[in-house]
């Protein structure tokens, strides 16, 4: 073959390849959703929990709404840089929309990619407010920002004390020192004085999210002689802290999270057994009476016969809803075009939702307002709703049973 003929053939092959790729994109009858979650690394277990919500979403959404979606899964490895590169790769591979990533740091990185590439990104779980304060056009969030989360959480703490007749006067605040923890600490500092709560903070202790030993931190907290521990944690550190409280015989009334993960995760119960009981988390939760929840619960049991939805409530619920938002927008836009999808997401109004709160509707900052929290207490080694009263499955118990009154 002569060189000129070879060059023509090469050009024709390349052109036909590009053409067929474009045709494939244009003819795609399914919405391709790139799901970014930390399925390995420090937040691996929580990421895997969120993934359960993503895995069941296509079938449930097809059944309930008749929308076809296809998932493209990626692991952020609990690293911001990896989250960024995986997001870029998903877009290159044809994702029409991104969903994820259960972490504020990773969400901020993915948001930049989504904005640069003009691809809509629906955040499932991430509370740092700055993500939706940047004026981004393609970034949407259906999760309370730190201040909303903390306001709901702190109000529920006051309700808990009222309901149980407990009278703690002081708390020591411990928080994980990452983007999420710092945003929560800042929100607590700003909101606490406005709420006129019956307790005050005697000390704030931040710690490394990758800490392998929290004995010093707990010794420091114990020395404050605070009545209870106010905690913003992740999963592994929550387990370490609970163990250290027992080892150091810290006579504290209880551990209460105003809106962080850790103490309602399945691994927390598996690792600590009976010691998990009594811990309180005031977090966004699913509405057990909602029709969508019932469908998701049925699908969850089918996918995970040995497991229960209540151990993954927040992770599965918000991941499912993020994918639902994308699917609903696709149905209305009738297109996978990024601009059309973005406009459709902007106009979202989903009234029949799974999580407790107002309808899913984005404000000017592309943030959903009105996501509510429930007071979840570990009882019988499982998370149980104890407040608000209309949704309560059991009575709240505070202080926890091991507390010895002076």
């Amino acid at each position: 073959m002569r060189r000129r003929q070879f060059n023509r053939l090469l050009l024709a092959t390349a052109a036909s390849g590009v053409a067929s790729f474009n045709i494939a994109r244009a003819q795609s009858s399914k919405l391709r959703v790139g799901v970014l979650l930390p399925k390995s690394g420090l937040q691996g277990l929580i990421g895997q929990s969120c993934q359960k919500g993503a895995d069941l979403a296509p079938a449930v959404i097809k059944d309930l709404f008749g929308i076809d979606i296809e998932l493209m899964n990626a692991d952020t490895e609990t690293q911001v840089d990896t989250a960024r590169t995986r997001a870029e790769r998903l877009i290159q591979e044809g994702a029409h929309c991104l969903v994820g990533p259960f972490d504020s740091g990773a969400a901020a990185a993915i948001a930049q990619v989504a904005e640069q590439r003009g691809v809509p990104f629906v955040i499932n779980i991430a509370a740092a407010p700055q993500i939706t304060e940047q004026g981004y056009k393609f970034v949407f969030r259906n999760f309370p920002i730190a201040s909303e989360l903390i306001r709901n959480g702190l109000t529920l703490i006051a309700d808990l004390f009222k309901a149980t007749g407990a009278m703690p006067r002081t708390a020591v605040f411990m928080h994980v020192n990452d983007t999420f923890g710092q945003a929560n600490a800042k929100a607590i500092g700003a909101i606490m004085p406005q709420l006129n709560l019956p307790f005050s903070l005697v000390e704030t202790i931040s710690y490394d999210p990758a800490a392998k030993d929290l004995s010093v931190e707990v010794a420091k907290a114990k020395s404050t002689k605070a009545d209870f521990l106010l905690l913003v944690s992740r999963l592994n550190d929550a387990i370490l802290l609970r163990r250290e409280i027992i080892k150091q015989r810290w006579n504290v009334m209880g551990m209460i999270s105003p809106g962080s993960p850790g103490m309602y995760e399945k691994q927390f119960y598996q690792t600590l057994g009976k010691l998990s009981d009594g811990c309180v988390s005031n977090v966004p939760w699913f509405d057990p009476q909602a029709a969508v929840t019932k469908s998701v619960d049925a699908a969850f049991r089918k996918h995970n016969p040995q497991d229960q939805l209540r151990f993954h409530a927040l992770n599965v619920g918000y991941t499912f809803e993020a994918i639902l938002i994308a699917a609903d927008a696709y149905k209305r836009a009738k297109s996978t075009d990024a601009q059309a999808l973005t406009e459709a997401i902007r106009a979202t109004e989903i009234k029949n939702r799974m999580m407790i709160g107002a309808p899913i509707k984005f404000n000017a900052k592309r943030q959903v307002e009105g996501n509510l929290s429930a007071c979840i207490q570990n009882q019988g080694q499982k998370p149980v709703v104890v407040l608000p009263a209309p949704s309560a499955e059991a009575q709240a118990k505070f202080p926890w049973t091991e507390y010895k009154r002076a």
């Binding site: 390995s40 490394d208 030993d213 010093v216 114990k222 163990r243 691994q267 690792t271």
Partner: protein
């Protein structure tokens, strides 16, 4: 005693106990470098594998890590022996950077193999006494940490005794002190290098068996532990066995006190600060030989 003093004493004791386990881990690195002059960049990864082996023995056969450490240490001795004699030995006379790349590659293979086999989830060994503390007046001593530290200290003493009182130990020391002299006297240098590597690996395996009593572990923890072992041997003195133990305790106490007095989230920063201070004042480390 005031609350502050009790707290200080509790935290210091906790730092010393954890530091002894770290010291045993670093001792393995120091032995390998002191004799074979090989810097084991796969040290932390080897320890993570030993932790998984011990946890499997516990899960499958209910063997307590205190008993499991014997077969695990023997297994790792042979693993280290094989690694040195078959894989690392050809690189002994090659430029340092090729040794570095080789051991880094071994470390990566170990981390990713562990990840493939066991997944990314954190593992732990649950024994009842791990949630207990011993009360000594106003002091509370973590039972798990105490036992782990005692075993680590005993293992270190056994290793010192081996080097001091046995023929093979003396031969290894001779080999480390004067390689040419040892060769002239007819010592089998290759075999002694392999034994030293095996002993270092055994040490790290015992440290791993004790560390699973104190921390939850994942494959990703290998590199941070390698780094920690380096900090400890640099502080204690590269090649010095007592230096490794001393370095471990110093790092343990420094981190604990920094966490108590300054801020817990920055406590590992103080390990590096201590290392820099030691390097500035005494470049060979606290108990290291002259450079």
């Amino acid at each position: 005693m005031s609350v502050d003093l009790i707290n200080l004493a509790n935290v210091t004791i906790s730092g010393v106990l954890t530091g002894l386990v770290y010291g045993l881990m670093a001792l393995g690195l120091s032995v390998i470098f002191g004799v074979a002059r090989v810097i084991n960049f796969a040290h932390g990864e080897m320890m993570i594998i030993s932790m998984y082996v011990a946890s499997l023995l516990f899960e499958w056969f209910g063997i307590n890590p205190f008993f499991a450490m014997v077969p695990v240490a023997v297994l790792f001795f042979y693993l280290g022996y094989f690694l040195q004699s078959k894989v690392i030995q050809p690189f002994i006379t090659r430029p340092d950077h090729t040794q570095f790349m080789l051991l880094l590659a071994i470390a990566m293979i170990m981390t990713h193999s562990t990840l493939i086999v066991f997944g990314p989830d954190a593992r732990t060994v649950s024994l009842d006494f791990l949630l207990e503390s011993i009360e000594l007046g106003p002091l509370l001593i973590d039972r798990g940490k105490l036992y782990a530290a005692l075993v680590s200290f005993s293992a270190a003493v056994a290793l010192f005794s081996f080097f001091r009182f046995t023929f093979t130990g003396t031969a290894i020391r001779a080999c480390a002190d004067n390689w040419l002299g040892a060769k002239i006297t007819g010592l089998n240098i290759r075999k002694l290098y392999a034994i030293a590597f095996g002993l270092g690996s055994g040490c790290v395996a015992v440290a791993g068996c004790m560390l699973i009593l104190l921390v939850d572990f994942t494959p990703a923890l290998g590199p941070p532990y390698t780094l920690l072992a380096f900090i400890i041997v640099i502080v204690g003195g590269l090649g010095s066995m007592t230096g490794a133990l001393l370095g471990g305790m110093l790092i343990g106490v420094t981190e604990a006190l920094a966490g108590l007095w300054i801020t817990p989230s920055a406590k590992s920063m103080f390990s590096f600060a201590l290392m820099i201070a030691v390097l500035l004042v005494r470049p060979r480390g606290l108990l290291g030989n002259k450079l």
